[in-house]
Symmetry: C2
Subunit: 716 residues, 2 copies
């Protein structure tokens, strides 16, 4: 946690609140907000402001802001859009620190709204009043008993929420109410983010001691780069859960019609968020189960899950989902199995999934013993209980209730003393038997859905692996390269002529930074074939046209393959020059690039783009149709660590190709990781570089060949 | 529905039941079953049998089966395994039609258990008593008030269940209890299926008028071919929902430890089930939501979904999930948008997703109007309502309750009169407000999870498309080919020598059936190169060794490419013969096959395997790494229709490759479909064929080339 405290603490945990546009009409926000504050037991001062009312809900009403007889930390402004700039000035005079502006009618409505929003921002800056909104659903801080939404069903707890949809907040509140054990700390609807933005709220939740987990419902990021930076400061000590809507083209269309924010590719966004340790949830109905468990349970140090079940059906389902989630079934130690054998029936299955096969039917307490034994196995990172725990006394005999409760108590003790998480599923979850209430009251969530339980395990494991990788991440992320004079000159020249680097210039730039590239040669006329032959010997060569005016060399007949001997070179040269003229008579041709033909290898692509939201992003993927059709690629924000680079390889669906298929040996992954890192470092070292495209790179068991390289310069 | 009635009706809807091994101990099944029958209000006769008791739960106890003074339709046998064969004989004497055998201790326990199970089967056959089980959790038939499980929470309804896990039945029962509106017809646990099998139960559920949807929880199929046949007779008039556990290697391992059945590849199983119209559910927590909606709602005639929302958040989430599910957002007609504009606020979004943008906050009834308007659009196949319906009076003002209830009533009317399904989501689902209860009571399920609602839409759409395809399916599935004498001779000769067809024989067999293949030539010595040159002209040729003893031709240096001219042919021939001798000195070499080199094209693979569970299955996939690494393949059981074949193309993740990528023209899909059908028909025509492997087939804009063909003969 940084020492610097967010300015939002004073605003979101205010000691005094003015309600501007307070109302006597029970259907208006200017009324319900006051009701919410009173019913919520707010301990600070409440100042209703309305020139035409005397008293609302027993509180005296002030005719104006300046008439208020005490300091005001925060103002809730319920008046229409047009009135906001003046009110902000008045608030500034009064020393109000921040204002929650509910009114819509700003940039989301078109040109005049946009102008009004600019006025609002100017007023905020001039007055020194920070603005939450406009067009926000409001906020609450339940630990401070500030409930401007007048939601009656919410209770205080560790889940902090930022939601770009007020309805989603309502949905989460309803879900928490039904769960009964999920409570909230602070909620903010960022609205148009004219002044205070998403990242400010996230930083606040990161600092807020009442928030155990930060949950974000996001339709679009505006400053993604800053978000990654803020998130990366929070995730080492507090989980951050993000649901990003607009995951598909259709979804993006729908999100675009509701916010003004740009939306990047979903897959890229997910990769970048995970890179900084954010937990991305893909199903909206898993947001709270995952967030609550991240808040309450220990992260899992690895992926090895042990299942304890009282029947085959649920055990198999859990095992299926665990494999699909990229987790593993732990291999239980011989001693673990022996200890289980001592307490379970002979027909029990002692291999993971452990199936007690009826042992628990008359003796529920045996489940806690199984959990302790399996949890003590060094090869197990997390334990999942599936089946009918909590309902044995319902299913079999009421007399089992005592044993079930003792079992639950033992599980609570285990959870408190063990560093491994315990995830509990029960088909009786919705019946809420007392044993399950005991677990949940003690901070062990209970899932009625095996699928949700496994998603929780996935999140706990991902978080545990992220935390474990932090030391290596920090140690390896510092490598930088120094810009070199020759390369800088080359970039400067290109930018002066408003062009990108030529292929040989791009390769020279990489060479300067130690990227091993084959010796190549630029020939500017047809006088030197003997020298070429002397240099390359009998190696077959490729000849490519060098021209800033010919981007797609093949289309211009500008690439000739498998050339050997001076005569072939001469002929190819003439054909290329002819082709270039035919393609574009105006094209300035600098000559041809001669390079040895690369041996066949595994084709990959390494690229860097400047994402409008997230800044420089590196993409790695398998070449050909795998990139183009199946979009089998991985993204990381630059800068990236060796750890990040290595994780890109492991993420691809076709990763097996790197390990060798059809009898091929594995490629040189170390060299590949080096190349990825080098490309990222080069982009960092030269701000003049906008994009990089190494396509294809051919990977070998020993090293690689960069067949083509493009470096696009910044044109601004 | 077939006229032939399942023998199970008399057993699963019995007018009299004997409880053999009836007990006075309230923890024993011999007691709880009687309790369940009495509490359930069973109207038939109950005969407890126990030589050592006089009365149980007020009923007289019979000392033996023969002592019972009336006919017995069904016997529940609660005694241990060893007693079963004798009891079955006694039941046969009494004229009992079927017995439910709870005891475990048969083949699942090893050799002696297996012997006892054989005894049981022999006794069943000899006595004429059909056996449900052994090792079954039992059965219930709630319409007949037969509840041998003594489950108190279940209520009668349209969902019939066959579950290989008793715990899964219990889980579904708990879920139905919580839902409150899901009822069951008949449940059977098939147990070891020693006598009556899965397919018998499925046929029964298909015939049972009390069952609106058949739900199967399956760990492994024994006779998959028969299952497909039975299912294909049911699905045209009744939905069948299957959850297949063991979807992953890990899951398979766990399932294998609980059943003796073989488990095929999950992906293949799913394809084959869908081929016959079965709805496959992949998440266990979606089994009942999907089944209930299939039972209650109309199928959707297509994939075009309209979303009506009262807020952006849920609309976007629904749109995302709809796209991911392979469904589409319907394009609303101009007239539809105009009609919506008449009733909605100006800021409402009239494009799909329709967002009423506050119009409903004070006027919930507008939602029903929107549903009617959108549902009347010819471009819409199904309507999904998302948001807070049912909770407006909770969120805004109690006075809205009346409007909400009128709205719900209008929605019920719409659903009854419209042929398109209405899927309802509400964040208030768990609060159970009266408007939602009205919907649910009227057969419109309400989902608290958007994701589950969309999964329901996917199932309704898939079912609607299946039903719509039935006429075409039936018309196109009759094509057959007649076995030809030359091909039969070729197969017979090969089988006599215990070998498979040689490549040229396989190709000849395909040629005989009209598969267009390039002219090829088998040359048996090196005397005829001039004739070869004359035949093929200057076309470059490929030469391949022909030998039953050399399966992997390339490994033996047995393939030479790009040959032109007699000299090159002679040299290649010598090299191949040398290579063959070096590879296997004993190999019998028949000569070499000469064929024109195929032009580059899109590489695909077509294969047929004999699956031990499902019989002959055709596989189609994109060649190279797409098949090997990404497993991007589709399966269909043979026989298959043109419809089936075409759907295989559409199913591939890389299907875009068939439409042309990187500027390539699309391949000739009609020719490809013809080839797939021909291969399937050939396998049907020749029972001697075990497997076929066309790999690769190169696809062109006009036709294709079968580069290599293997036909494996049956060796039995």
């Amino acid at each position: 946690m940084t020492a610097a405290q967010s300015f939002l603490h004073a605003i979101l945990a205010p000691d005094s609140i003015a309600i501007i546009g307070a109302s006597t009409d029970p259907t208006k926000r200017g009324y319900t907000a006051i009701l919410g504050l009173i019913q919520g037991g707010y301990q600070g001062r409440i100042y209703p402001v309305n020139p035409r009312a005397k008293e609302i809900l027993g509180l005296p009403v002030y005719p104006s802001i300046e008439a208020i007889d005490g300091p005001v930390d925060m103002a809730l402004i319920c008046t229409p859009a047009a009135s906001i700039p003046q009110i902000l000035h008045d608030c500034g005079q009064k020393g109000v620190k921040g204002a929650v502006v509910l009114a819509a009618g700003f940039r989301e409505t078109g040109a005049s709204g946009r102008a009004l929003e600019q006025e609002l921002v100017a007023a905020a800056h001039a007055s020194g009043v920070r603005v939450i909104g406009p067009n926000t659903s409001g906020m609450f801080n339940l630990h401070k008993r500030v409930n401007l939404l007048a939601l009656t069903a919410v209770k205080p707890g560790g889940v902090g929420i930022i939601s770009q949809s007020g309805n989603m907040l309502l949905a989460l509140a309803m879900e928490a109410e039904h769960d009964g054990y999920i409570g909230f700390s602070t909620y903010v609807g960022p609205g148009n983010q004219s002044d205070v933005g998403f990242n400010d709220y996230l930083q606040y939740l990161g600092e807020d001691p009442g928030t155990q987990v930060a949950v974000l419902y996001v339709e679009g990021f505006s400053d993604g780069r800053k978000l990654l930076q803020v998130a990366s400061q929070i995730t080492p000590h507090k989980p951050v859960v993000i649901y990003k809507s607009g995951s598909t083209a259709l979804g993006e269309k729908s999100a675009a019609s509701h916010t003004g924010a740009l939306t990047g590719s979903y897959a890229m966004t997910v990769d970048l968020l995970r890179q900084v340790g954010v937990t991305v949830v893909h199903r909206s109905d898993q947001i709270l189960p995952v967030a609550q468990s991240l808040a309450k349970l220990q992260p899992a140090r690895g992926k090895r899950i042990a299942i304890i079940a009282d029947g085959g059906g649920q055990a198999t389902i859990a095992a299926d989902r665990i494999a699909e989630a990229g987790l593993e079934l732990a291999e239980l130690a011989t001693t673990t199995r022996a200890r289980l054998a001592e307490i379970l029936f002979a027909q029990a299955s002692l291999n993971n999934p452990v199936d007690v096969a009826g042992t628990s039917d008359a003796n529920p307490e045996v489940m806690a013993r199984c959990i302790e034994i399996v949890g003590a196995d060094a090869g197990v990172d997390a334990v999942m209980l599936v089946g009918m725990f909590g309902g044995y006394h319902i299913r079999f005999d009421q007399s089992l209730l005592g044993s079930e409760i003792r079992c639950a108590a033992a599980m609570v003790e285990y959870a408190a003393s063990c560093s491994k998480p315990l995830v509990v599923h029960s088909i009786y979850a919705e019946r809420r038997p007392v044993a399950l209430s005991l677990l949940r009251e003690s901070g062990i969530p209970v899932h009625g859905s095996i699928e949700n339980g496994v998603e929780v395990l996935r999140a706990l494991s991902e978080r545990g692996c992220f935390l474990a990788s932090l030391p290596a991440q920090q140690a390896s992320s510092v490598a930088q390269v120094q810009a070199q004079a020759t390369a800088q000159q080359s970039l400067a020249q290109a930018r002066q002529s408003g062009r990108d680097l030529l292929e040989f210039e791009a390769k020279d730039l990489l060479r300067v930074h130690g990227v091993p590239l084959a010796d190549e040669l630029v020939v500017r006329d047809d006088q030197h074939w003997d020298a070429v032959v002397q240099k390359f010997g009998t190696t077959p060569l490729v000849m490519k046209v060098v021209s800033k005016d010919i981007l797609h060399k093949s289309d211009a007949g500008g690439v000739k393959l498998k050339l050997t001997g001076a005569a072939a070179l001469q002929q190819a040269y003439e054909q290329i020059m002819q082709g270039a003229r035919a393609y574009n008579a105006e094209a300035e041709v600098h000559g041809v690039l001669l390079a040895p033909m690369a041996h066949p290898g595994v084709e990959v692509i390494i690229g860097v783009v400047q994402d409008p939201i997230f800044g420089p992003v590196l993409m790695f993927g398998l070449g050909g149709v795998l990139v183009e059709v199946l979009k089998d690629v991985a993204f990381r924000a630059i800068p990236l660590s060796a750890n990040d680079a290595r994780s890109m390889l492991a993420q691809l669906a076709g990763r097996q190709i790197l390990d060798g298929v059809r009898g091929q040996p594995p490629v040189d992954k170390d060299a590949l990781v080096d190349l990825i890192l080098k490309v990222a470092q080069v982009v960092q070292a030269y701000p003049e570089i906008a994009e990089v495209d190494l396509n294809p790179v051919l990977l070998y068991p020993d090293g690689y060949a960069v067949v083509d390289a493009r470096i696009i310069t910044r044109k601004d």
